[in-house]
């Protein structure tokens, strides 16, 4: 057996360790990895074991659990939650936003009150920035209304990237060339920097959606984009997350979910309606 194979074997994750991790990580973050994600989880666990110099998974997991600063737990969260996204993903929902939803929200606003949009999870920023650009390009009300956009994620690394606002051409693969030319500046062979006027206008915050202590202050939003997150949660965490989203929304506020997600399977608190080509969920007024 080669040295590297021996090292790999030593860093192997046993079935019991995987089961413990599933339960612990699920309780702490709401994200439950099914057995079919074993390879994904094992690879990231062994990477973190190597990075922290742990020779056994059991010792590493104990370290994660009991480390006073919990910084390694955050690094593990970051490793487990990197999600690929891109600008103007599921554009039909952005179209629905400017073709009905924004005007409906604006009708209920007093003069001087801003419209608040929450992008959760925002990953590396493509979603909140897409919302901002789409509104500026396609919503006439932008000339008269104030819009505040907050992007949040549990992963601190992606939030740093979001704040930096540098994107690859892969992230811009669905972005029209005229929009790239207008809002981005090429900074390397494959890198584009989003204009500072946009990056500095979005607020990014770290939050765990299933932790009531962290989410309690998230209130007064009119629109929430929570796409492709709930599918990773177990049923209890899904309910907790939806409770948080319900509390975060103003009466009459809207939620956009991912195209494969359905609120009606989780909660009956929202009414479903159609805006342009998208289904949206609305908190009763």
């Amino acid at each position: 057996m080669t040295t590297s194979a021996l090292a790999e074997e030593a860093l192997a994750v046993t079935n019991d360790e995987f089961t413990w991790f599933q339960d612990y990580f699920g309780r702490k973050t709401g994200i439950y990895f099914e057995d079919n994600k074993r390879y994904f989880v094992d690879r990231r666990l062994t990477t973190r074991m190597q990075a922290t110099g742990h020779k056994s998974c059991l010792l590493y997991l104990r370290f994660v659990q009991f480390q006073p600063s919990q910084s390694e737990f955050q690094k593990l969260v970051n490793a487990m939650t990197v999600n690929e996204t891109y600008f103007f993903r599921e554009e039909y929902q952005l179209s629905a936003l400017v073709d009905g939803v924004m005007d409906d929200v604006r009708k209920r606003k007093a003069r001087g009150q801003s419209i608040r949009i929450w992008s959760m999870p925002c990953s590396t920023g493509e979603e909140p920035y897409s919302i901002a650009i789409y509104l500026m390009e396609h919503w006439p009300g932008m000339a008269e209304a104030d819009v505040e956009i907050v992007g949040s994620d549990i992963n601190s690394t992606v939030l740093d990237a979001a704040r930096e606002g540098i994107f690859t051409d892969y992230a811009l693969r669905n972005t029209p060339p005229n929009i790239v030319a207008k809002y981005f500046k090429r900074v390397s062979d494959t890198g584009y920097a989003l204009h500072k006027d946009i990056t500095e206008a979005i607020t990014f915050t770290q939050v765990n959606l299933t932790n009531p202590d962290e989410t309690r202050s998230y209130r007064g939003f009119d629109i929430v984009f929570c796409r492709n997150l709930l599918i990773y949660f177990d049923s209890t965490s899904r309910r907790e997350a939806v409770e948080c989203l319900y509390g975060a929304l103003n009466p009459g506020g809207y939620i956009f979910l991912g195209h494969s997600e359905s609120m009606s399977r989780i909660s009956s608190l929202f009414t479903i309606s159609r805006a342009a080509d998208a289904l949206v969920y609305q908190k009763p007024i």
């Binding site: 915050t205 309690r216 202050s217 007064g220 309910r239 909660s267």
Partner: protein
Amino acid sequence: MGLVKRTSKSGEKRELRFRDRSKEDLLAQLGDAQAVERRWAVRDLAEYADTMPMLCDCLETEKDEAVRAAILTTLLKQRSPEIARRLSGILSSEDAALRSAVMDVLADMPEQLDSLVEPLLRQEDPDLRIMVVTVVARLALPTVSDWLLNVAQQDAHPNVVAAALEGLGECGTVEMIANVRAVATRFPGNPYLAFSADAAAGRIGQRP
């Protein structure tokens, strides 16, 4: 006009709590006239496991759907056999929306409901037994198909048996097919049950 940004570092409204959040005050707020206050009290009580019986009491009288949902989510998070027992008692409520919401939560408490299933399946009221069968069919427990087959073979009420057959169509095993088909013979002259048994056996047989 356009994009605006809050000046606070977090970007969020600073949390302002105008009401006392001690356990005693939160319990008192469960009786607040404003549903939004009751809902926040429920959410904050989630950290006090000993208040779950009071939340169960509230659930029986609470009319606001959002407060109910918050109570049920909190009870689900704190799940215990006692909570499952209290919730199963609510299945006899006259309130259909509440019953339905409770069934959804019970289906997510398999381990806590485990020891209660057999007594619940022996209740006198067939409507209650149908609801229990519906919940049982959704439980993630290895004993589910045995429970359902037992109901299909033993229960006297055709509608309860039909509910069990429907569940068996989802979770029955290949070894059960002959027994599932034979359930129809318990109710000769009942074409619906003959159809249900046949359909359940067919669905079991089609599964890979």
